[in-house]
Amino acid sequence: MSQPTSSALRALALEYKSLQEEPVEGFRVKLVNEDNMFEWEVAIFGPPDTLYQGGYFKAHMKFPPDYPYSPPSIRFMTKVWHPNVYENGDLCISILHPPVDDPQSGELPCERWNPTQNVRTILLSVISLLNEPNTYSPANVDASVMYRRWRDSKGRDKEYENIIRKQAQAAKVEAEKEGIVVPVTLEDYCIKTRARPAEQQFDMTDFCDDEYELDDDDDDDEPLSASDYEDGDDSGNGES
């Protein structure tokens, strides 16, 4: 399937339109190039009351020709120091893993791509992953070690926190140059959201990754906030 299928164009156009008409809190989307539906630029706002507060993180989403049967990929264009983001910005998150048999992951209980996943569900997962890295399969080992130190010391070891806050700050300055005001309070962050779709309680097991052993707590949908970092490896609904 090297030619884009009509389904791919149709699904992408539908999603794009819906995200323009009804933006979802925490991110904005646009096309990298107006005549190519298969590459989107997404801007994620750092959620208030997290280390990422005030940050403005740009990423490119690339969709395969047979979307939505196969998942897109995401690469951060803004520098992001995070256990699940590679040096080059590529994001590693299980929801975007293609549904092929993966000898590395075996039969582990991870959320995988299926055709009902979409840009909304992916980006909400990404926002959750920012707050709750998966340290079992780190893409950036140094960041992972540092994050664990920060978490295990209950925030007393500030190295991780300082890097993130610095990056968020730098990203904010960039955003301001572009004339974008990054929301820093919950009210502002949520203000543009009209009629939230009824799909918010989706399964957040997707940031469990290859090596992630998770107790099957799909029903655990207690919202996590920054104060929940102590047990940050639990799977839960990370929206804040």
């Binding site: 996943q117 399969s137 799909e199």
Partner: protein
């Protein structure tokens, strides 16, 4: 686990992603198949099946045995979705001249969306798949000669055809999850039913096993008889009815790894 972490890292860090290579090769094979075999073919005489096996005594005798019981078959494209595609084509074809069952099925299909949204599937996308599924059902309704032509056309239009497959996969997953307690016994390994659905039912191109067939036929309240044609002993083509004890309203031919449609 330590070892596995290292392995995982080493493959992910090389320039060429192994997953990507496998996918690329898979895509090449898919493309070849796509160019040579239609999603759903024309009705063929079972003689055509015999002629595939002139050099193979076991299969030849089974093809002949099958020809005693069935007159025609219809091939589907081997793309991992063949069970769902064959099942839905055969079933809709059957419903064209059975108004009562058609209406019952239409009602069941109409209500199915709510169940899926309740189970946590994203409404936005489920709705899209559901709308297309209903559109296909509506277009083949009416019991005219045109219905058969329309069915064949829709099932060979990749956009419609694959959306039908996706939606049937969702219905199957939904049924499995609702009856998880029962289906848990059929699942090998440590996986929960939900995990099994995420990995083996919902993704496109994933092949179907007995559990998919039982769940699909039960969810749609439709009996299916599968004829197994393989290297096993004997000259007969074993029949299995799903769900067990039901009266089959459609018939499928199974050859290792693939399903086609059979007509008595």
């Amino acid at each position: 686990m330590g070892d596995r972490t290292v392995q995982a890292k080493s493959t992910e860090n090389t320039d060429v992603n192994q997953d990507e290579l496998i996918l690329q090769q898979q895509r090449r094979i898919e493309k070849e198949i796509q160019e040579t075999i239609s999603l759903v073919g024309e009705k063929e005489s079972l003689k055509a099946l015999e002629s595939e096996y002139t050099e193979d005594d076991i299969y030849l005798s089974k093809a002949r045995a099958l020809a005693q019981k069935y007159s025609f078959f219809r091939r589907t494209r081997p793309d991992g979705n063949c069970f769902f595609r064959a099942f839905s084509y055969a079933y809709l074809e059957k419903l064209i001249n059975n108004k009562d069952e058609y209406e019952k099925f239409r009602e069941l299909a109409r209500k199915s969306k709510e169940n899926l949204v309740e189970l946590g599937f994203p409404q936005f996308t489920v709705e899209d798949f559901h709308d297309t599924f209903m559109e296909v059902i509506d277009k083949v309704g009416g019991d005219t000669d045109n219905s058969y032509i329309e069915l064949h056309k829709l099932f060979n239009d990749q956009g419609y055809s694959d959306y039908v497959v996706v939606y049937l996969r969702l219905i199957t997953s939904g049924h499995l999850q609702r009856e998880a307690e029962f289906y848990q016994h059929f699942i090998e390994g440590d996986r929960t039913v939900k995990e099994f659905c995420h990995q083996e039912v919902e993704p496109m191109y994933k092949e179907s096993d007995h559990i998919h067939i039982i769940a699909m036929s039960t969810a749609l309240n439709t009996g299916v008889r599968v004829r197994y044609m393989d290297r096993g002993a004997g000259t007969e083509v074993t029949a299995h009815d799903f769900p067990e004890g039901s009266t089959p309203s459609i018939h499928l031919l199974y050859r290792p790894g693939h399903y086609d449609i059979l007509y008595p």
